[in-house]
Symmetry: C2
Subunit: 122 residues, 2 copies
């Protein structure tokens, strides 16, 4: 059985909801996810996994307690485990995430209206 190519643009066309990461590939206990984001997220951290962000379209600001980093398309960043962060995007931004399998998007923050199903996949 041949591994299947995964087309990021095609996958992005398959959903419109925001702040709801969808797993598109898995390896060695980690998952690649696509997500569309807009507006302000909540402060949170992931105790058990580093988290990589790669911007595919739009612009993402990630706020840290010590300052902010802005990512444009083709730019990525790794947020180490345990580091509080809060993503923000004025306009819709499309991202690929890479993080430990089953990671909940809102991390250690109390479950809220932004908390999405960590098992969602495309």
């Amino acid at each position: 059985m041949l591994p299947s190519p995964i087309d990021l643009s095609e996958k992005l066309k398959q959903f419109t909801d925001q702040w709801s990461p969808k797993t598109i590939a898995e390896m060695d206990g980690f998952q690649f996810k696509l997500v569309k984001v807009q507006g302000d997220f909540v402060w949170h951290q992931h105790a058990d996994t580093d988290e990589a962000f790669l911007v595919l379209a739009g612009e993402l600001r990630i706020d840290f307690r010590s300052g902010s980093v802005v990512l444009k398309p083709g730019q990525m960043l790794v947020v180490p485990k345990g580091v509080e962060h809060k993503p923000f995007s004025e306009h819709e931004c499309h991202l690929m995430l890479f993080e430990g399998a089953g990671t909940v998007n809102t991390g250690d923050a109390a479950a809220n209206e932004l908390t999405s199903d960590p098992t969602a996949e495309l």
Copy 2:
């Protein structure tokens, strides 16, 4: 200390050698690497790590013993550990790899002129 944004295009400008992956980010024992490839690689497999390929520019064919998969820009694929594969690209192709830290590009194949330093980074 803020995490730094990593610009894939800027990193790609920093080297010209082919078949020589450079680590650009690390997380949880895994590494993101950039590599430029052209021509035929060797058959090999990685016993200890799955390996993800994301095409950034050009076109990559990955041959498996059971057939071939072609990846265009914005397409990715995960090669499971232990699965023999051989990348090929007629023209130069730019890739991002994600694999276990320290993975040697030629895997289980005898070291040869295509084997590169697994500790190279940008």
